[in-house]
Each structure stands twice: as C-alpha cells, then as structure tokens.
Symmetry: C2
Subunit: 226 residues, 2 copies
C-alpha cells in the first residue's frame, strides 16, 4: 500500500502518481482558462477548483520544473504547453485495441482519444468470427498476430477491452510483445512485469461521485462549490 | 473557474467536490487494507498512497465527521462504513440507461456498477429499430417513455451513453423527467438545471496518465512509487 513513498517527508526525486493525476486536471483547467482568454493564473486559483491548497499545487508543479513567476503566478499558455510535455500528450501514441466487443467498438468511436494524440492503429480479437472483419475501416487481427504487428507498426500502447476472465492472459501476451503501456478496462487487478506501465480504469468511481452529490442535495446541503 | 470557493481559506460548510473524489480513493484503499487484515491506518499512510499530505487527508475527512482516534489513527472497517455512507454507496440506486449502442451495452455488462449498488433498471433509445428489443433480458423503451417510467419505477439516476450531437437534448428530457443525477459519457459539456446533479466521465484522462508513465520510464526516471 504505502510502501516506499511518503509525500509528507519522502524523497522528492520520484514523481508521485497522484500528483500526475492532478496534472491532468490542472491541464483541463488551463484549457478552460485559455478559452476565456485568461493569461495568468495563481496557484490559489488553480488549487481552488480542485480543492487543494496553493501549497499543494506549487509542490505538485515543482516536481516537473519551475513554472511560476513571482508576483504574476503562472502564464496559462506556457504552463499548458509544459504540462502537455510532462504528460507526453504533445506527441502521437500508436495504440493497439484488444477486444473488439461492445466496449472496444465504443472506445474506437470515442473522439476524446485521437484529439489528445492517442491513435488506435490496429485491432485484435481472440474470436475467429471477428478476425478479418473491418470496424471503422480497420481490420480485426487474430491475437497471435500481436507481436508481429507491434514490431512492424511500432505500436506503443494497448487498450484492453476484454472480459475479466481473459484479461490476465491477454495482458501476458501484451507484455511479451514489447508494448510499453496498458490501459485496462477489465475490472480485475492485473499483474504486469516491472517494465510495463499499467493504468486501470474504474468506471464505478464516477458513479460514486454522482451518488454523493445526489445524497448531499437531498440532505439539503446542496450548495456545490462549482 | 475558481469562483466562490477557496479551500485554503474559504468556508468550511460546503463540501468540496475534489475532496469527495479523494473519498472514493480512500475507500478503495480501505477496502484493500481490509482484505489484508489491517485494522487501523494513519492519515500519513492514507495520504502516502495518494501522495497527499497527512494534513490534507485529515482536512478531507473532517468535512464528513470525526473519524480519527488519538494515538490510533482511523479504524479501517469503521471508516470504510462511514465513507460508504458519505458517498451513498451503502444503498441501492435505480438507474436509467439512455443510449443502447456499443457503449451502452458495454456499461450494461460492466460488473463494477451493480457491485456498488448501481442497478440499471430500464433501457431507452431513440432508434425505433432498437425499441422493443431486449438486451441482457431488459426491454429497450422509446425515449418518450422516460418520464412515465421514471415515475413508475422510481428511477433516480441516468447514464447518458448517446452521441455527442444528441447529448444536450437527451439531457433536457432527463431533466424534465425528475431524474436526480446524470452520469454523462458523451464528450461534451452539458447544461443542466441547478437541481440536477451531473458528473461527466472523461476517458482521455487515464490515457494521459499512461502516456506520462511510459514517458517517464523511457526517460529512465522509471521508479514509480507503487
């Protein structure tokens, strides 16, 4: 659980995952600010929308560089570019989609990915009835073609949209194919080798947020901060 | 953006959204701790896994009650129950699923929802070819049946799995049908009346986290905290 890392007093050399999570949120906010033409922002303002203290904001951003100007705060456009660089979303990522069922097809049509540089380049499924079919103009390949296609097309990331039962075995295959990172939608904990990055998507989290808001509103404590 | 609320010095009466987001994460962690039989946990330990200071943890939890014991910390099982109460996930929510395309069908089969008390009770779609069909044993109703069915079946929440183009008009219909909260998967910003809760799911966020981890690993700064 809390092994090795303690943000209160630990080493500053490692980059904490949760700080990176907040970087995505800072980035969304900076994008909103740019849209309304705001040019500078303070750490207090950035923190307020996430309900984090200004000190935490400065600490989070300090992991990645010195972005602030005394008396000014952060320059919105500059910080946005810097954070895009930090997140690696200022470039294109080639993605393998594994599992072309309902979820896979939904993800294939999701516009939020390509917008941010995540381009699904190849489709894979273990079902022989699907292999050879085309979805959104892309052919579905058999799973065992993965290692070859990863090499040939220089695929870097894989999205796992497979049933929980087969997620680990597919994950093992992905690991052997020299993919660098997995985005896992199956509601299971996967074991990956140390050199493979893994992010799992828990779609239940947002439902909990909604339940909370509705509960609060019912209780009459409805005043949401934003 | 940062209107009205400043966590550094603002009013303590309102509950900050972001603190609630962290409650979900604390809850996941408490569940992991329970599985391994740990009975108590300190705010430092809870904070470390999220890379948040112990002070921030105590502040977050203090919004919802007094849970800590001096010299002991938090009792894991007790805090878990309390936080489930806070989030409203210790009860059952009746959910309308609107949009029975690929994403809707994927969500219908997603096990992480029912486990946490979110039960999809009725399906709706605007496509007349789908109306009357059954998916997972549940009939698909036309959109205009929504107000009646919300009333009859006491549906409380709606999941919007519709294309971005139609999301706002569906949202307006949901609002008029006295649904209390919307979980929106369409990548658009929706306008909702003040008394309707809205949470939007941004599936691009997790992709960014993965891109960051891979970028870090490539740069040789691979040491992830957990």
């Amino acid at each position: 659980m809390s092994k090795g890392k303690d943000s209160a007093g630990g080493s500053e050399a490692t980059t904490p995952k949760a700080a990176v999570g907040r970087v995505s949120l800072y980035l969304r906010q900076l994008e909103s600010l740019l849209k309304v033409g705001q040019e500078t922002v303070s750490s207090t303002q950035l923190g307020a929308a996430l309900d984090i203290t200004d000190a935490q904001v400065r600490k989070d951003l300090a992991y990645f560089g010195q972005f602030g100007y005394p008396g000014i705060g952060y320059r919105v456009a500059e910080l946005r570019e810097a954070l895009r660089g930090v997140l690696g979303t200022n470039r294109t990522w080639k993605v393998a989609l594994i599992g072309v069922g309902n979820l896979g097809r939904a993800l294939l049509g999701y516009r939020g990915f390509a917008n941010r540089g995540f381009v699904i380049e190849a489709l894979f499924d273990s079902d022989p009835r699907l292999v050879g079919q085309k979805v959104h103009g892309k052919e579905i390949h058999p799973l065992d073609a993965l290692p070859t296609l990863v090499r040939e097309r220089k695929l870097q990331l894989a999205v796992l949209a497979v049933p929980p039962e087969s997620a680990q075995s597919v994950c093992d295959l992905v690991a052997s194919a020299r993919i660098e990172g997995i985005l896992n939608f199956a509601p299971v904990q996967l074991k990956v080798p140390e050199d493979l990055c893994l992010v799992s998507v828990d779609m239940g989290l947002q439902f909990e947020q909604l339940a909370f808001q509705v509960s609060q509103r019912r209780a009459g404590g409805a005043q949401e901060p934003r």
